[in-house]
């Protein structure tokens, strides 16, 4: 054993935070907006992929969790068994 995986150091192209640029308000009732920040399994997409800033990611994750309670968006999507 002792395989060493070479880590590729790729600088991700910095995307601007969509909420900062467009000045969208994050609302937990807006399920169309929130579902854009979910993976196809229903998980929250990480910041490094969406480019959301820390502040808005925090607000977003709170909104997603609230929307899940209200059954607007799923906790898990049940497929790919």
């Amino acid at each position: 054993m002792g395989k060493k995986k070479k880590k590729e150091k790729k600088a991700a192209p910095s995307k601007p935070c969509r909420f900062c640029v467009d000045k969208i308000k994050i609302d937990y009732k807006d399920d169309a907006l929130l579902s854009r920040f979910l993976t196809d399994r229903g998980k929250i997409t990480p910041r490094r992929i969406t480019g959301t800033c820390a502040r808005h990611q925090r607000m977003l994750s709170r909104a997603i969790k609230r929307a899940r309670i209200l059954a607007l968006i799923p906790f898990v999507k049940e497929y790919y068994r």
Binding site: K25, K29, R68, L70, L72, P74, F75
Partner: protein
């Protein structure tokens, strides 16, 4: 007095009268305890993202009100004991409706 936003989901088995009755009942809880209803928004029947109490649909209501802590306790209590309420959530209203200053 704080502004709150309350979302509740009613069972899809209720008819129009039943829905009206329920929403009026909840409104009265707020108004009878010196609170004010700022808006009541009925979304109508919506599909749930996952089944709740073996229902796949529900009637959504969004109520914005201002009031004191007493209302929250009473609303939470009533919601919990009401079988027609599938889900409820009360949060602080982050974008309150601008109120007319007196």
């Amino acid at each position: 007095m704080k502004n709150y936003e309350c979302v509740y989901i009613l069972a899809p088995t209720l008819d129009d009268n039943g829905l009206k009755e329920k929403s009026e009942k909840f409104n009265e809880i707020v108004t009878s305890r010196s609170g004010t209803i700022n808006s009541l928004d009925a979304w109508g029947k919506r599909k749930l993202a996952y089944p709740i109490k073996k229902f796949y649909e529900g009637f959504y209501f969004v109520m914005r009100f201002s009031g004191n802590n007493e209302i929250l306790n009473e609303l939470n209590r009533v919601f919990r004991f009401d079988d027609a309420v599938l889900r409820h959530m009360i949060v602080i209203d982050e974008n309150p409706v601008p109120e007319k200053s007196e």
